[in-house]
Amino acid sequence: MKRAAGLIAAALALMAAPAMPAAAQDSPPDFSGFWGPVFEPVEPAADMLAKLPDGTVLVEDTGVVEFPRGEFGGLDPTPEALAKAQEWQPEDDMTLDRVCLPPSIVYALQGPFPFEIHQTDELIVIRYEYFDQVRLVFMDDRTAPADYPHSKMGFSTGQWDGDELVIETTHIMPSTITNNGLDHSADLRMVERYRIDGESGRLVATQWFTDPSTITKDGVRWIEWEKREGQHVYPYECDPTFALEYAAQ
């Protein structure tokens, strides 16, 4: 099921881009634990959307929702990105050498898989079940070293803005945005803003991204996770020979 994506009203925001907060508070909330995705329909928090740049597109493919070929949730691919998406064939990814390539955090974040957060003042570690990926979020104001390599998780720095955790990520290796042929470039920049919802206790987030060489409009997803005590991330250990099963039929 998929709802139509829409432009976030211009009145919601005046900023040119999500800004990193200037200072952290003394006692940030504790996000530690096992978080599983919420699949029921949810409404984004208006005050968090209001912190996004004007014209950002709300991409509604979170959780189990997926776009078919040719639909990109309101994102506007550049001619080059659109041509590449149109040439893409689903079978291209179902080969021994590709079927276990993980998507970047841009797509993986919204997927229907849980993760664990391990939180300290200097470093937050997010361990994703999806493809066994691990992400480091540096909380010590460092910047990416020169010639830092790109990876599917990228280079992430975080700051607290009151009770919200704001993470900025760069150095993300090109990969899919919507899992149907639309890829982002190595220059994509992503800003996530997380907080724990006071009523539901869920971890909620905006995942904003900009990549002018592939999409002419910035995108954002709204994502919610619920805490599940006593659960743990399972090993994923992707087996590429699955591709042989697909090819066999």
Binding site: E66, V99, P112, F113, E129, Y130, C238, D239
Partner: protein, 123 residues
Amino acid sequence: MRILGVFAALAAVTIPASAHHSFAVYFDPEDTVVLEGTVTAFRFTNPHGTLVLDVDGQEWRAETNAPVVLRRRGWTRGSVRPGQHVTISGWRARDGRRYMRLREVRDEAGRMIGSAPFGKDDG
């Protein structure tokens, strides 16, 4: 071939979670298939498990959600075994091959394998 039913309504609301490849791209949510046959193979590895079924001499393959999802629904690699007679349902591949995404498996007595069908509240 014993295709017990092909109907459209089942998948109208929920679509199963994908692991690597997109359900929406590969499978038709309007083309639900129910099959009865004998299991010839079952693999339980990510990104998808695979159940191979002999349906009156024709081979069908049903890919499962990621086994990390299956485990939370009570599945193990021994939940289905070769030689077992089962009834399965799911969504057929858009390209028309005998390939499908699994919704549920029921044993010969009609008992569902695992705690819930797929396509609802995965995690």
